[in-house]
């Protein structure tokens, strides 16, 4: 009998205390607990990710009326388009402008009104206001929030990061469990066995698809990690500081500042009498008009589709931000708000090697880099993850004894524990949230589980 069959008939055979069987059981125990705890989150990630992959198509349908305009020729200057918005929405504070990127597409003006954030769509040919969208109501943004932080902010972000890192543990332990004991094995390894009975089939329907998508799953995890709040931000700061990653302000770090020339308060003579009137600001120069910002962008060959983010302080800058489907077209540009000087021009080419890798990883992860094929393969992996998660859950339900959790029982083997502990410690350092969670589990095990006999029995500890 092979080890896989041994595993599925575990309850019938007497346990053989060989060292390899003991290691197998230990690794299975890790796989089991990681799976039990984190599969709900991996399922959420797979489902929300699978939907989010099709954001472009979905939004094009949802917001068609806001996006599309008739190409009637002629154009209204950006400043007049924004004026149309501010005269209609009197309390609006404009913070962003996205020029139209084709004759059939509207311009977008981002405003804050009260506590809300809205996008107002403007016809670039005649300055008419087409409609508005409340950021809170953007479906795909909400799905992205669910995917990245379970919609509960920082704590959700950490949980997702934790689940993703434990996903790595699941894949690595899973591969160990799946690894064929005989080199020439095909059935049960590369294809499931349909003729060996239900139990074997159920196990194969978990392990074999899992093998096929494990590369995809690991890719999604590793390309998603630079995004995360703790590991990702730390990684970004290390690589940016070292000159190996993104330039500052693209992901982490500050943008350059505008040169604020100050001047003295002047005497302002006016008809009735000469009076000292302090001029509106102490700044010497006027802020650039939005028309000039767009002119600078055109001169610098920044393809339309970018967002212009308005400066928020006297020394702030106009920031052009373009994150298109393909990573190699990315642009982050900072423009002095008084002189129009290009203070920083960070395109994909100016990213250092790690920055380029991260950028490319992100666009493949999001399914935008290679078009429809990218989206479909991503979808396949997401479906595979959901399938593996659900089949693993089913396997557990079938195996679970009535009064216990069903965790594999392990006899401690000190020699193996040393190597395993070493690997665990390294993992815990490389992925600090995993390290923290392991410490929490160890403490729980030592102080609670080992001392409460019912708990000890239930968990097979």
């Amino acid at each position: 009998m092979t080890s896989e069959d041994k595993a599925s008939n575990r309850d019938k055979r007497p346990s053989v205390k060989t060292s390899s069987s003991s290691l197998y059981k230990t690794i299975w125990r890790w796989h089991f607990y990681a799976g039990l705890i984190f599969t709900p989150f991996l399922l959420i990630l797979a489902i929300t990710g699978g939907i989010y992959l099709f954001k472009p198509q979905i939004e094009n349908v949802l917001y068609q009326d806001l996006y599309e305009v008739e190409d009637e020729g002629g154009s209204i200057s950006p400043s007049k388009q924004i004026e149309a918005v501010t005269s209609k929405y009197v309390d609006a504070h404009v913070y962003k402008y996205r020029p139209s990127d084709s004759p059939n597409h509207s311009s977008e003006v981002g405003v804050h009104i009260g506590d809300g954030t809205y996008t107002i769509f403007v016809n670039p040919h005649n300055g008419e206001i087409i409609g508005q969208l409340n950021d809170k109501d953007r479906l795909m943004d909400n799905i992205e929030k669910f995917h990245g932080e379970l919609m509960v902010g920082t704590i959700g972000d950490r949980i997702v990061e934790l689940a993703a890192c434990w996903g790595i543990v699941l894949v690595v332990t899973g591969i160990y469990l799946w690894w064929p004991r005989r080199k020439t094995k095909f059935w049960g390894v590369v294809l499931p066995r349909f003729s060996k009975g239900k139990k074997v089939l159920m196990r194969d329907l978990h392990a074999v698809p899992a093998f096929w998508i494990s590369a995809g799953l690991l890719f999604l995890i590793f390309t998603g990690l630079p995004w995360s709040g703790l590991w990702g931000n730390t990684f970004q700061q290390i690589t940016t500081n070292a000159g190996l990653g993104y330039p500052p302000s693209v992901w982490v770090g500050d943008a350059p500042k505008s040169d604020v020339q100050t001047k003295e308060i002047a005497d302002v003579p006016w008809a009735a009498e000469t009076m000292k009137v302090p001029l509106s600001t102490s700044k010497d120069l006027l802020p650039l008009s939005i028309d000039d910002v767009v002119k600078v962008a055109d001169e610098q060959n920044v393809t339309k589709g970018y967002n212009i983010i308005f400066p928020q302080t006297d020394d702030g800058v106009y920031t052009l931000s373009l994150f298109p489907p393909k990573a190699q077209d990315e642009v982050t540009m900072h423009i002095d708000q008084y002189t129009g000087a290009v203070l920083a021009d960070y395109r994909y080419d100016s990213y250092k090697p790690l920055g380029k890798m991260i950028a490319f990883g992100i666009t493949i992860h999001k399914g935008t880099q290679f078009g429809l094929m990218n989206q479909l393969i991503g979808l396949l992996v997401c479906l595979g993850i959901a399938g593996v998660v659900l089949s693993g859950f089913y396997l557990w339900l079938k195996r679970k004894p009535k009064s216990k959790l069903g965790a594999p029982k392990v006899a401690e083997n000190p020699k193996q524990m040393k190597t395993l502990s070493f690997i665990i410690i390294i993992m815990g350092i490389l992925f600090p949230l995993v390290g923290v969670s392991i410490i929490v589990v160890l403490l729980f095990d030592f102080f609670v589980v080992k001392r409460v006999p019912q708990l000890k029995r239930f968990l097979n500890a």
Partner: protein
């Protein structure tokens, strides 16, 4: 052997983490740098209408000399009259100085914009100036605008 590797590895990680608290303020030096050009518009303290006025533009570059400019034009317009802009070509009078001469026909608030171009760089600072005496309305328009409440949006 394992122990030595472990200590080496952890110290490496700790050093790495210490550099991760925030981005260095001069991290930008490690990436592509942009040349910065600056233009200071010099306007005489008092300007009267119907008089010839000298407007100067001093062009400097951050650490290098400014090569001969491709073009230096001054745009002048009266506030409220944006449609009528007067464009005058600047004459180089000194190594980093360009001048134009203009006569303002009316009192009021004017804007002076210096369009400075080199082969690779282009800046366009705009300065406000006052000619003669302002009407009460015009002077009031210079008073500080009531600050709109700034909603802090999350970083993009």
């Amino acid at each position: 052997m394992m122990k030595k590797f472990f200590y080496l590895f952890s110290s490496f990680v700790i050093i790495l983490l210490l550099s991760a608290c925030s981005v260095d303020s001069d991290a930008a030096k490690l990436y592509r740098k942009s040349e910065k050009m600056k233009a200071v518009i010099v306007i005489p303290k008092t300007v009267n209408p119907n008089e010839e006025v000298d407007l100067k533009v001093e062009v400097t570059k951050e650490d290098k000399k400014v090569e001969k400019l491709e073009s230096m034009n001054i745009e002048i317009w009266k506030k409220g009259n944006e449609e009528n802009k007067k464009v005058i070509e600047g004459k180089r009078t000194a190594k980093e100085t360009y001048e134009v001469v203009n006569t303002f026909s009316e009192d009021g608030i004017y804007y002076v914009k210096a369009e400075v171009r080199t082969k690779d760089l282009h800046i366009m600072p705009t300065k406000q100036m006052i000619v003669g005496e302002l009407s009460e309305e015009e002077a009031k328009s210079l008073e500080p605008e009531k600050e709109k409440e700034d909603n802090h949006h999350s970083h993009h």
